[in-house]
């Protein structure tokens, strides 16, 4: 994997015996010990993820807010300093360029946390569409991102951080120090459990990572890889770009309605998204549970009464539920909870049922 890019924590992953795989051009840990064990550790206590491959694109200047408002589906002007919103960058046809979290740093600065695989595309898109009064800076390479996720995250982070965390609510962030490292602490994540995403200078990533892992004898967080990250986000029914979202898919087909300010309009793609909704979406994203043994994997056909009606976009065994779950696109009338479907697995129709999502609702 010598040609792959490495995160600043590459040496730590090797020391920990991680299995590394290619993801978005990076050598990334897919697991350290076991995907299922790492998944359970996050749901029950806490796990630590290196997600430094993700991109951070800043917009700075007097036009930063107005430019970002044009670029993303979520409201930006009303976003207070130290707050975060989830939204999509859309193209003129209403397809999703990327799904991002938008962070309001100050009156004249925001940053978007973006998918690693889309970073170059996003930078080009943002540079092409930001106004003249907004400067675009890709700080991805200089920034490490470590996610501490799970119900014990607050207690564990408090041990190496003087910033009061109990008052830091979901979707807010604050600048502080963690294990002596200047860190932007966001109460966000991609697991469906409580937790934090920690942005720090890349050259201090190891000190931050080690400081968090040492978090005390009584149960340090477990290093967790992309395998567990994927099963966790799937249980929470959080979309993954390239699976549930792509340049052709409307965010409304992906059921992201509450992250799309369609009534206010004013963002690139708004008109097309409204038009596509008015015309009726040919397909909608649905969550399903397999009622027989098997694993529904991305790309498998979804059928109803023997006839192909859609395709699986993500699927995995759910460690929390003990059965297989998945997401896929089907015609709207097949997307209603309770609908009986089949997933074609190696030529056989395996029974599935549409359910409400998220599959797992976390209390933590």
């Amino acid at each position: 994997m010598s040609e792959l890019r490495r995160t600043p924590l590459h040496a730590s992953h090797q020391r920990l015996g991680a299995r590394l795989v290619e993801f978005a051009g990076y050598a990334m840990p897919v697991q350290y010990t076991s995907i299922v064990e790492e998944h359970r550790a996050v749901r029950e206590r806490a796990g630590l993820f290196d997600v430094s491959h993700m991109g951070q694109i800043h917009l700075i200047g007097p036009g930063a807010v107005a430019s970002t408002e044009r670029l993303v589906t979520c409201p930006v002007a009303s976003l207070g300093e130290g707050r975060v919103r989830y939204g999509c960058l859309c193209n003129e046809a209403g397809g999703v360029v990327d799904d991002v979290t938008v962070h309001r740093v100050s009156a004249e600065e925001l940053f978007l946390c973006v998918n690693a695989a889309n970073r170059e595309k996003d930078v080009a898109w943002i540079e092409a569409h930001a106004g003249p009064e907004a400067r675009v800076e890709d700080r991805s390479d200089a920034t490490a991102l470590i996610a501490l996720q799970g119900p014990a995250s607050e207690a564990l982070l408090s041990r190496v951080c003087e910033t009061p965390l109990a008052s830091l609510r979901r979707f807010r962030f604050v600048d502080g120090k963690v294990a002596g490292v200047p860190t932007r602490i966001a109460r966000t994540g991609y697991t469906g459990s409580d937790g934090f995403e920690l942005y720090a200078p890349a050259d201090r990533a190891e000190a931050l990572w080690d400081g968090l892992l040492e978090g005390g004898e009584a149960g340090a967080p477990v290093p967790a890889g992309l395998g567990a990250r994927d099963t966790l986000r799937l249980e929470a029914a959080l979309p993954l770009y390239g699976h549930e979202l792509d340049d052709d898919t409307s965010p409304l087909e992906a059921r992201l309605d509450r992250f799309v300010k369609l009534d206010a309009g004013g963002f690139i793609g708004a008109e097309a998204i409204a038009k596509r909704r008015a015309a009726g979406h040919p397909r909608l994203l649905a969550g399903f549970v397999l009622e027989e043994r098997g694993v529904a994997r991305a790309g498998y056909e979804i059928a109803a009464q023997g006839e192909g009606v859609g395709v699986v976009t993500s699927g995995a065994p759910s460690p929390t539920l003990g059965k297989s779950i998945g997401l896929g696109y089907v015609p709207p009338r097949r997307a209603e909870p309770g609908t009986a479907l089949e997933v074609r697995i190696r030529g056989r129709g395996v029974k599935a049922r549409v359910v409400d999502t998220p599959f797992v609702r976390s209390s933590g």
Binding site: G17, Q31, I35, V36, E37, R293, V295, R297, P317, R346
Partner: protein, 132 residues
Amino acid sequence: MADTDIPDDLRYTREDEWTRVDGNRVTVGITDYAQQQLGDIVFVELPEVGKSLEQGDPFGVIESVKAVSDLYAPVSGEVVEVNDSLGESPEVVNADCYGDGWMVVIQVADASALDDLIDPVAYAQHVKERAE
């Protein structure tokens, strides 16, 4: 890479299966290296008793959280026993791949088919080459 267990008394395939030969009965499973590579095993699909297999035929499927892999018949013959308990507890393959995680017993008609199996030293070399 963690060390992998390669018992001396078994013979192997380059597809990471082990075989235990007892007369004309050949018990088949996947190796420790294979279960480590797959990770958490969540589904095993095996043939019915009575199925006739040619060496190299896919005879079943094993799925981990992340991956799907075919199982290949290490020898030609008839399936005479199937480890049905793996349907309920596929994770046993991770825990005890050379014991309770066995998959099928194949009855061979022609013992010369066993000649294609490799010994533990050759299999260890095969594992090492891929780990590098």
